[in-house]
Amino acid sequence: MSMSHNKIPVTVAEVVTLNPLIKRFRFVRRDGASLPAFSGGAHVVVEMDDHGTRRMNPYSLMSAPSDTTGYEISVRRDDVGRGGSLYLHQHVKVGDDLVISAPVNLFGLDLQAKKHLMLAGGIGITPFIAQMALLSAMAGRFELHYAARNPGLAAYADDLRARYGDRVQLYYDDQDQKIALAPLLAGQPLGTHLYVCGPKGMIDWVRRTATDMGWPQQCVHYEEFLAPPTGKPFQVELAASQKTITVGPDQSLLEAIEAAGVDAPYLCRGGACGQCETDVVSCDGHIQHHDHWLSDEEKATGHKIMPCVSRFEGRSLVLDR
C-alpha cells in the first residue's frame, strides 16, 4: 500500500519557542483549503529534507481537533538523536514549505469509558492537549496528571491549569514530586480508561502497576514513538524488487528501502502501529528488533521484521519486499 496519496503540502505559519527545549509549529495548507478533521491522540508524519537526507518523524497533533484551519505540533529538541528534531528547531522557519501525512490515530480515546485518566511525562503532554479539548467540548469526564523535570520545562502547564482547573495536576522532578500511582489508580471508578504518554520508563511503570492492580489491558492505552536507533551499516536483499541495498549507520531500514525507490507501507515510523511489518525470506545473522509491535515469540522466530526501527547484524538478510 502506498502512502503517497495521503500527503498534504503545508506551509509553516507560526513558530513559537516555548522553553529552551520545546518549539511549537503551526502548519496551514499551501492551497489555503481546510485540513482534514482528526481525533484527539492523532499524529502526522512530518517529512524533512535535511541537507539531502530525507527525514520523516511522527509528531502528535496538539491543536484542537475542531480547528481545521491549521495543525500544531510541539517538538522537543533531541541533541543526541538522528537529527529530525534538531532540523526542525534550527532550520524550519515561518513561510517554509513542508509535506506532512494525513493524520493517523493510534492513541484514540475509548469513548465507552466512564472516565479518562491521563498520565503525561514531559513532551508526552501533546496528544492529551487535543484529547482534553475534545472531551471538554463533549462534557467528558477526565483528569490529567502531568510530570515534568521542572516548571520551566512543563510546556503548557499554566495554560492547562487555567483552562481545566484542578482536573490538571502537576508534578516536578526537581521538587521531588512524584505521581502517587497506586492510590491514584485504586481510587478510580470502574470503567475508567488509563492513557499514558511519556518516556519508556514511565510507560513501563504505569502499565506494570495497572496490570498488578487488576486493570484489564483493554483499559490501558499508551503511546511511545521510538526514534529509529543508529547502528552499524548492513546489507539487505529485497527479493520481490530484486535489489540489494545498504542501510547507513544513521538511516533506518525503511528509509533505505524508500531511498532505493521501493514503495513500502508505513504509518507511524516509530515501531508502534504494525503497518510496515515485513516477512523475512532468509536470515543468516541476528535481527535487532526494536519495535513494540511483534510479540516476543514472533521476534524469537525471526520470520518478521519492522523496518521502521529494527536493524540487522550478520551475513545476509533477505526480505519479501
Binding site: 475509548d110 465507552q112 469509558a113 466512564k114 472516565k115 489508580l185 485504586a186 481510587g187 478510580q188 471508578p189 470502574l190 470503567g191 475508567t192 480508561h193 488509563l194 496490570t211 498488578d212 492492580m213 487488576g214 486493570w215 484489564p216 489491558q217 483493554q218 483499559c219
Partner: protein, 203 residues
C-alpha cells in the same frame, strides 16, 4: 478445557473460557445453577486470599440448591443468594456503579445469566473482553424476536413460538452482546402455517 463444547459457528456466536484467578483489588462473581461448580473449581487453583475480597451473587434456580453450602464454605466476603437474575439486578447494578477500577468480574453458568451480567458491566464502561465467562449447565437460550422485539427466556426448541407475539421463530446463532440475546426470525413468513416440527436443540 471448557466443560461445555459448542459446535463451531458464525463469529457472532459467543464462546467461553475457563475462569482463572487474576490480580485485582476486588472480585465480583455472578453464577447460576451449575455455574457454582466453576467457582468451586476456581477455588482449587486460586489463592485463599481471593475469597476474602470476593463478592458472590448466586442464583441457584432449580438445579443449584445443592451448591449453596459449598459456596458458603469458600467464606467469600459476601454471598448473596437470589431467586432470579431479575431479583439480583438492583444489587448487581449497585455493586458495579460504586466499584473501583481493579475489580475483576467472573461469570459462570447459563448464557442468559452471563450475557446479562456482561451487558450490565459494559454499561458502566467495562470492556466486554475484560469480563471472564465460563459456561456450565443448561444450553437454554435467551432469544429476541426480531419482529416484536420481545425477549423469550429459556428457549430449548427450534423453532419455538414467541412468548410475546406468537410468531414461529427460527433460532439463529446471531447474537447481540448489547441485549444479551440470540436472534429469533419468523420461519413461516412466506408460507404461513408451514412450520417444521420443533426440535429440542438447547438442553
Amino acid at each position: 478445557m471448557p466443560k461445555t463444547v459448542f459446535e463451531p459457528s458464525i463469529k457472532s456466536r459467543p464462546t467461553y473460557g475457563v475462569l482463572e484467578h487474576r490480580p485485582g483489588t476486588a472480585h465480583l462473581m455472578v453464577a447460576d445453577a451449575e455455574g457454582a461448580q466453576a467457582l468451586l473449581d476456581l477455588a482449587h487453583s486460586a489463592p485463599p486470599t481471593l475469597w476474602t475480597q470476593a463478592m458472590i451473587v448466586y442464583i441457584p434456580g432449580r438445579s443449584g440448591q445443592q451448591f449453596t453450602q459449598a459456596l458458603a464454605n469458600l467464606s467469600p466476603s459476601q454471598l448473596h443468594i437470589s431467586p432470579s437474575y431479575a431479583a439480583a439486578q438492583p444489587r448487581l447494578h449497585k455493586i458495579l456503579q460504586t466499584a473501583h477500577a481493579g475489580l475483576q468480574i467472573y461469570l459462570a453458568g447459563t448464557e442468559s445469566l452471563m450475557g446479562q451480567a456482561q451487558a450490565a458491566a459494559m454499561a458502566v464502561g467495562v470492556p466486554h473482553r475484560a469480563v471472564q465467562m465460563e459456561h456450565r449447565g443448561s444450553l437454554a437460550r435467551r432469544v429476541q424476536c426480531v419482529h416484536c422485539k420481545g425477549i423469550t427466556e429459556n428457549v430449548t426448541t427450534d423453532p419455538f413460538e414467541c412468548s410475546h407475539c406468537g410468531l414461529n421463530l427460527f433460532v439463529r446463532d446471531h447474537y447481540s452482546r448489547r441485549i444479551a440475546a440470540f436472534q429469533g426470525v419468523n420461519i413461516d413468513a412466506e408460507d404461513p402455517g408451514q412450520v417444521p416440527p420443533a426440535v429440542e436443540r438447547f438442553t
